[in-house]
């Protein structure tokens, strides 16, 4: 039983093969980490999965359903949520409005022209709960652009989660965070484990080995290994290609 099945997925940018015949499986509730050096194609892989980019070859199936031809909103509607490597929030909206808009995305259509959105209890309460869970309750009425970098990263995750995805794609959630913020983020992701399937791209190896059920290693667009953290740690090819040189 797998939630996400990826086979032979390729994407070229001119001469660069950013993803080269990538195969991958994510099981329900699993935290699956993707690691690899800079430029390995990790973000490209997430873009292919979220529908922001369309692949040149290969297939993607969610719960057995082919989704490779769907656009990003359609995939989000099927339950694929994501965060971005470079923080992507609505700067002029408050933290609360950011999350409320994410709740709205999955709460019926938005061709409603008259009723005030902020008065909708379901949206407002859902957003407030999510902010509290994320530890941003105090910052609810602060414009997102005025939040610290770390808080924006947290907001980013809160938004992705508020749309109630079944599969959450996380692109370096701790990027640019200080050690204590980073530790809190890891703790938060650990608390999510089991409730939702996650595909986590992360450079912080301590975080990866602490969190992941399974790890996939990419270099130059290719998957060179997949397995449990212990198996990956012991894998010679991985050590040579990656772990030896990093951290």
């Amino acid at each position: 039983m797998t939630l996400l099945t990826v086979e032979g997925l390729s994407k070229r940018f001119g001469g660069v093969v950013a993803c080269d015949q990538v195969a991958l499986e994510v099981r329900p509730g699993e935290l699956h980490a993707v690691i690899g050096p800079n430029g390995a194609g990790k973000t490209t892989l997430l873009n292919l999965l979220s529908g922001e980019l369309l692949s040149d070859e290969g297939r993607i199936a969610l719960d057995g359903r082919e989704i490779g031809a769907l656009d990003a909103p359609a995939r989000a509607a099927l339950g694929i949520g994501r965060s971005f490597q470079i923080t992507s929030v609505f700067g002029e909206f408050t933290a609360h409005e950011n999350v409320a808009l994410a709740v709205q995305a999955r709460a019926g259509h938005s061709f409603r022209f008259f009723a005030e959105a902020r008065r909708e209890r379901a949206l407002a309460d859902g957003a407030r709960d999510m902010l509290e869970r994320m530890g941003l309750g105090e910052r609810a009425n602060t414009p997102a652009a005025a939040l610290s970098h770390g808080e924006q990263r947290q907001l980013e995750i809160a938004m992705a989660l508020a749309a109630r995805p079944r599969l959450l794609l996380l692109d370096e959630p701790t990027a640019g965070m200080g050690p204590s913020e980073s530790a809190r983020m890891v703790e938060f992701l650990a608390s999510l484990k089991g409730t939702i399937a996650m595909l986590l791209v992360e450079h912080d190896m301590d975080a990866v080995f602490a969190l992941a059920d399974r790890i996939t290693v990419m270099t130059y667009g290719r998957v060179i290994a997949t397995g449990s953290p212990d198996a990956i740690r012991a894998n010679d090819e991985v050590r040579a290609a990656y772990l030896g040189t990093d951290s």
Binding site: F90, A105, S110, A163
Partner: protein, 311 residues
Amino acid sequence: MGARFAAFAILALLAAVPAIAALLDQPFYLDIFGRAMVYAIAAISLNLILGYGGLISFGHAAFIGIGGYAVGILSVNGIDDVLLQWPAAIGAAGMFALLTGFVVLRTGGAHFIMITLAFAQMLFFLFTSLELYGGDDGLSIPHRGTLAGFKVLDSPVALYYLVFAVLAGALALSARLVESRFGMVLRGCKSNERRMRALGFSTFRYKLAAYVLSGALCGFAGALLALESEFVGPSVLHWSRSGELIVMVVMGGMGTVFGPLFGALAYLMLGHFLGDLTKHWHVILGPVLILIVLYARGGLAGLFARLGKRP
């Protein structure tokens, strides 16, 4: 809430214009302020997509033209009641927005500006060459129509208050709209469309709906303009008109509910009074506009809001 206060003060003044005009025996005040209100409605429509949606339409005069010609053509053909003319004007403008929206909304940035302009220019030349309906010279509307069979529109004051009511309605509509779910989606698209799509919003649909709504409302403004001036010609959809609408929105304050009202009035009054002083009033307008953009962030609405906050 300085901007809101200023807006209500201005609306109160506009409501008093017929009385003031009668008192001072200056009937042309009705024409000037009636026109200003029509342009305010058009600017409100543009602000919906420009101010809230971040879509810089450089072709909004096309919708004014369509609305105006709908009234003119129906009127020439003996269909006189505005309850038929208006839906036709609104429907035709909305339809044009729908059809062109499929094309223009596939693009963004400078392309969007150029393609909206291109469509408007096509329409401009179409009406210029439409000899049956006046071609270059435009089309005189033989007489103002009836409202549900009543000949009330012959009274300039009645027409004035009708336009006033539409303006008030348009302001109320846009105030509600921008706070609604739909409005939040539209503003989200302006802020970060990529994020919106990743959250699951099919942004194209929402932008198209906003574009159609905006076009339809602008078509209504065009119908009112034709009715007021008893004339419609290609000049109403000249590209410079589209530019003027953008200037009004920017001057008044993009993405604010009352900005278009402030902008349209300020622009037309400036034109009127400076126009009396010199033919070259645009030379003065340019620097005024630059000062507003540089120093009154958020346009006049932003200025009023800041004045309102002062103790």
